[in-house]
């Protein structure tokens, strides 16, 4: 027997048979196999390779990813320069904005003795907590794809790849995919802290040393959680359940932020004494969470009170979690992977509601009706999609609740302020809507990826595809937007003029944000992604969010002057400057109309050019 002995279901590669090992290596795509190693079909490997060779095998597994990125960058692509320039401008603008605003706030804190550094630390804690939430959420989503759904797994699992190599390679992939956006967001923030508090040349290294385990911890937890779920539930259900896990993780972060009660810190008069206020500031908010350790590491370094314990806690927790995750992976991965390949049989008979819906859509004509029905069915039959609506509901409730909790009574709260808040509220609501559009509208074109051939080979104008994607997403978004603004305005008891302004603004803004989301989704499609939830975390998703923020800022900026003029006139009983009012609203309206039509027209041309 030349290929080795069969022993307990595993193959032993005979020691000393150099030619055979070399042949085995060649067939397995160059993965290093140690002579004498026990290789099981599920990826088990009894004799671990020496550390140097193990590292070689790990880089070998990751090498194709790097080659793919490089190849993608080298493929000639018309219009790439334009897109890169757009990204550069938007990216630098966004970073500049975040850096500028934060640096200003931190400089103010820096000038306040005693409590300045404490406030800066608290602010960093809140930011890092939201980063931790984002990392947990995306780790869970990414781990399912990289460990169980990725297309390279058939090759890797069927090859003699050591289990530990596979685990580490996939863990790193998960960590990288789930964290790059957080890293981009964190960069201007961490830089602002370093610049204002003069962190010195070692500061970037300290921050990096803190951030690496901060990213690895959620990746290890997300991977382990996914592995357990895949072992317990059939794979198709796991995707659904992951939606709920993600929901609870996000809800947990929201609750934590609420428990911190950041608005309390803005009202020091609510405390009995300054000592009590400082005690609250000094106390840890979430001592068992990595965001607190990272915050203490960074602030400790910046204030000259560096305690290595925080850094030690970060690294040791990451190490323990990775070791535990590896052990779990060794025990359960092959069973889980097998389960993940199984499919379930599901029947889909439509009820009365669906039939009524079909009849209602009749006026749209055959083509549009079929496109809308298809979008509707695909969305509601994919539990990974609609389950996130629950998450949305939680976010909306928390949002409205926060508006209710705003301290709008007491000293200094004038009619001016009470009417100014709903106006600023528009910006926040716009951001929430942009995030929702990123999750539900942006992936629209990408999700057509594998079926793109059908749409291209059909007598179907591309504008119809965009039409269906746009309206299927915009209508629910509009109802939500007007609902949020209506309820919050009622809670804030704003006057009729401001009510009308905010409802009109949010309506236009919703159309513009939806159009941007669909268009950027078409401009930066991710046709190969298996998991819809991953698509908004792509490069294009980031550019969309930046453009959305720029659009919201532009609208608010244009409307600020007329709103201010109106509120001032009302407060001081002065005549209203109609010219200011008309000009401001006209500019905001024009911006919205351009943002609605121009991106869609550009996206249509782009769709017509897509060849796959």
């Amino acid at each position: 027997m030349t290929a080795g002995n069969k022993k307990n279901g595993s193959h032993e590669i005979e020691p000393g048979n150099g030619a055979l090992v070399a042949r085995h290596r060649m067939l397995s795509g160059g993965v290093h196999v140690v002579p004498g190693a026990m290789v099981t079909p599920g990826g088990g490997h009894v004799v671990p390779p020496p550390a140097g060779r193990w590292f070689g095998a790990l880089t070998h597994l990751l090498w194709p990813k790097w080659l793919s990125v490089r190849a993608r960058a080298r493929v000639p692509d018309r219009g790439r320069t334009g897109r890169v320039v757009l990204l550069g401008v938007l990216g630098l603008g966004f970073w500049g904005l975040v850096f500028g605003v934060l640096a200003r706030v931190l400089r103010y804190f820096h000038s306040v003795e005693e409590i300045g550094a404490l406030l800066a630390g608290k602010l960093l804690g809140v930011l890092l907590l939201s980063f931790l939430g984002m990392l947990m959420l995306s780790s869970v989503i990414t781990a399912l794809s990289s460990f169980f759904l990725a297309r390279d797994l058939d090759l890797l699992v069927s090859g003699p790849v050591d289990w530990l190599t596979l685990y580490i390679a996939k863990l790193l992939e998960t960590a990288l995919h789930s964290s790059w956006m957080v890293a981009l967001l964190a960069l201007p923030i961490v830089t602002a802290y370093g610049v204002v508090y003069d962190g010195g040349w070692l500061y970037p290294l300290v921050a990096l040393a803190g951030f690496i385990p901060f990213v690895l911890i959620p990746a290890a937890i997300g991977s382990a959680l996914t592995l357990l779920l895949v072992n317990v539930f059939p794979a198709r259900r796991t995707r659904d359940i992951l939606g709920f896990i993600a929901l609870f993780a996000a809800a947990g972060v929201v609750v934590l932020v609420r428990l911190m009660r950041p608005e309390q810190l803005a009202r020091p008069e609510g405390f009995r004494s300054l000592v009590e206020f400082i005690t609250v500031l000094r106390g840890p908010t979430s001592p068992m969470l990595p965001n607190e350790w990272l915050q203490r590491t960074i602030m400790g370094w910046l204030t000259g009170d560096f305690d290595p314990l925080s850094l030690y806690l970060l690294w040791s927790t990451a190490a323990v979690l990775i070791v535990a995750g590896a052990a779990l992976h060794r025990m359960r991965y092959s069973v889980g992977f097998t389960k993940a390949q199984e499919s379930t049989q599901r029947w889909a008979r439509e009820g009365l509601a669906a039939r009524v819906f079909t009849v209602l859509l009749k006026p749209l004509g055959i083509l549009r009706r079929e496109l809308v029905l298809k979008e509707f069915r695909l969305f509601f039959r994919d539990t990974t999609q609609w389950s996130q609506l629950i998450l949305l509901a939680v976010l909306v409730v928390v949002y409205v609740l926060n508006i209710r909790l705003l301290p709008l009574t007491g000293d200094g709260v004038t009619l001016f302020i009470r009417n100014l808040i709903p106006f600023l509220n528009l910006a926040l609501a716009g951001f929430v809507l942009a995030s929702i559009a990123a999750r539900f509208l942006f992936p629209g074109v990408s999700l057509e990826g594998r079926t793109w051939w059908l749409l291209r080979a059909s007598p179907l104008p591309m504008r119809e595809v965009l039409w269906a994607k746009f309206w299927m997403g915009t209508l629910p978004l509009l109802i939500l937007a007007v609902g949020i603004i209506g309820v919050t305005n009622t809670l804030l008891r704003v006057d009729a003029f401001m009510f009308a302004v905010s409802v009109m603004t949010i309506t236009f803004m919703t159309f513009a944000l939806a159009s941007l989301a669909v268009a950027f989704g078409a401009l930066y499609p991710r046709f190969e992604t298996e998991n819809a939830a991953q698509i908004p975390t792509s490069f294009g998703g980031l550019i969309y969010m930046m453009s959305a923020v720029a659009l919201i800022a532009g609208i608010i900026m244009f409307e600020a002057r007329p709103v201010y003029a109106y509120l001032r006139a009302r407060t001081f009983n002065e005549p209203i400057a109609t010219g200011d009012l008309v000009l401001g609203f006209a500019l905001a309206g024009t911006l919205c109309i351009v943002a609605i039509f121009a991106p869609l027209a550009y996206a249509r041309r782009r769709l017509e050019a897509i060849e796959r």
Partner: protein, 254 residues
């Protein structure tokens, strides 16, 4: 009818398809053969309107695809080599959706959908989501969808891959009957016996260019084969210069 004039597709310096001229008249089943990477799929995808030619033109049923893509595509049914379809639709919903893309709806579509599903033994799966279909079942569903709107022309890329023997037989009979009724089919395949038995005429493409086209007898003459008994496989290997057997021995001996 399909008419290709100087059809070219370039990717940078590489000419995947280089100046192809072809005419497939109504009532003909035309075979399109060639080694891997010869340009078959690229050509078919250009005819289907998925890829845009770098140069040249495609006419379907007399309509220029570039000038009036919607009208040209109305006459076309396309069956790709890889069966990717919407996983969350049922078989019947998918057929309805495809019919809707061609602006067809109502009882005729329902009736025809049922008949096509029954023809390919998919009737009992009609209300089941595509995600639970096997590769072969998906392929059969895509084939059924290409016939749902009664196209004038069908372009099909490797139709036999993944089909069980019964479905393969059904498909062959369906293709023959379809062209007998005056429709046009252009089919790429690696199964040379199928091409030999089914096709009225065959073209062999290599490195993006047509090496030869015609009936089996005409191809024999071009290839310089001896006698009338040489089959398509021998002609194919002669024309494409493949040395499969010798290479196989070389590899095994090395």
């Amino acid at each position: 009818m399909i008419e290709l004039r100087g059809l070219t597709k370039r990717y940078g310096d590489l000419a995947a398809v280089n100046g192809i001229d072809l005419k497939v008249p109504p009532g003909e089943l035309f075979g399109f053969l060639g080694p891997n990477g010869a340009g078959k799929t690229t050509t078919l995808r250009m005819i289907a309107g998925i890829l845009r030619p770098t140069a040249g033109s495609v006419r379907i049923g007399g309509i220029d695809l570039a000038a009036d893509p919607i009208a040209a595509k109305r006459k076309l049914g396309y069956i790709p080599d890889r069966p990717f379809i919407y996983e969350k639709l049922t078989g019947m919903e998918f057929l309805r959706f495809v019919a809707g893309l061609f602006e067809q709806t109502g009882d005729p579509v329902e009736r025809r959908g049922r008949e096509l599903l029954a023809l390919f033994d998919l009737e009992e799966w009609r209300d089941e989501l595509v995600e639970s279909y096997s590769h072969g079942m998906r392929q059969k569903l895509i084939i059924a969808s290409a016939f749902i709107h009664r196209p004038e022309v069908i372009v099909v890329d490797e139709p036999m891959v993944g089909l069980d023997p019964k479905a393969a037989r059904t498909l062959k009979d369906l293709f023959r009957e379809y062209v007998r009724r005056g429709h046009t089919i252009m089919m790429s395949t690696h199964t040379l016996e199928v091409a030999q038995r089914l096709c009225d005429r065959v073209a062999i493409i290599q490195r993006g260019e047509i090496r030869a086209q015609g009936t089996l007898a005409e191809l024999r003459a071009v290839a310089g084969s001896n006698g009338n008994e040489s089959g398509l496989e021998e002609i194919f290997l002669r024309l494409t210069g493949e040395r499969a057997t010798r290479e196989l021995v070389d590899v095994l001996d090395s």
